[in-house]
Symmetry: C2
């Protein structure tokens, strides 16, 4: 951990919208950053036990990219989430706060945190507080549809990934390697 | 190269729009795919000699991700491109065609090819022909602003990354590890 590069001024990104490319954009930033020696920690809200390729690929990076899944494989009901879904999302947010404050990672990705907030699994004001208190050197990336306005307001960068066309609508299902 | 996984049906993605997240979304797909053992080849049009982190990070992947820069570091003039810019973009497209047809790579990314077509460094009809002739198993990803309508028409997936807010407009310059 000695002599690793540090960002002078870490910023906050939000990738939202209904199109494909939000999680992969965050993964791509971490991959690019690894090439400069920066360390990333990716916390996946509401995702669990599905073998996303990025979990395996992170092993190539000699610890520069760490990924933690903090959810169940099942679909979470927005209207009636399970108690375990709420507990896991809140644990994920606590982990996020610890990782951000530790300053051991240059980039912290809260993947699907926008959805977790929209589903009220976590309180969006807790996310905003963590962002306001983040150390200067840490870059934080929030992904997922339905980003609350409060996240957009505090962000330095917001990209809305708009779905113009998607093969899911042609009946092509999610494929290993491309969609997970 | 024996026994590597192959995609049953490779599709065509376009990531366009003015927001941050197009190249990184493509990089993220390649990173995820590497975790499943798929091989990616990324050709960067109109980019050269700038140390993008992904060039270093690709070295971690044991040959699963290859990146080739096919441009000059200088800005290309849309109104009056240099002869060398046209030659390099056309070489990049020839390389793309060879790599796609070889079927040695599962994913081929033509990074910034949309801009190269918009700037008329390459003929968009050549890109469409290559896409129409691509082998079934190869996934092709096109990135860059100003994607021509013909690319959108042939694509299976189009995401428009819309810039809602960007730190460049606050005077923050491109940073190693995040923007390159």
């Amino acid at each position: 951990m000695q002599n690793r590069p540090r960002l002078d001024r870490g910023l906050i990104h939000v990738y939202t919208g209904s199109g494909k490319g939000k999680t992969t954009a965050a993964l791509g930033v971490c991959f690019r950053a690894a090439g400069h020696g920066y360390r990333s920690y990716i916390i996946q809200f509401m995702k669990g036990q599905i073998v996303y390729g990025e979990l395996n690929a992170a092993r190539f990076t000699n610890g520069l990219i760490t990924i933690e899944q903090m959810g169940r494989p099942d679909f979470v009901s927005k209207e009636n989430p399970e108690k375990i879904d709420i507990e896991m999302a809140q644990s994920a947010l606590q982990l996020a706060e610890r990782v951000i404050k530790s300053e051991e990672y240059d980039i912290v990705v809260l993947d699907e945190v926008n959805v977790a907030a929209d589903f009220k699994l976590i309180d969006k004001s807790d996310v905003v507080r963590i962002l306001k208190e983040k150390p200067q050197s840490v870059e934080v990336i929030l992904t997922g549809r339905y980003a609350p306005q409060e996240f957009l307001d505090i962000a330095d960068l917001v990209s809305e990934v708009r779905e113009v066309k998607h093969y899911y609508s042609k009946g092509i299902e999610a494929r290993d390697g491309i969609d997970r």
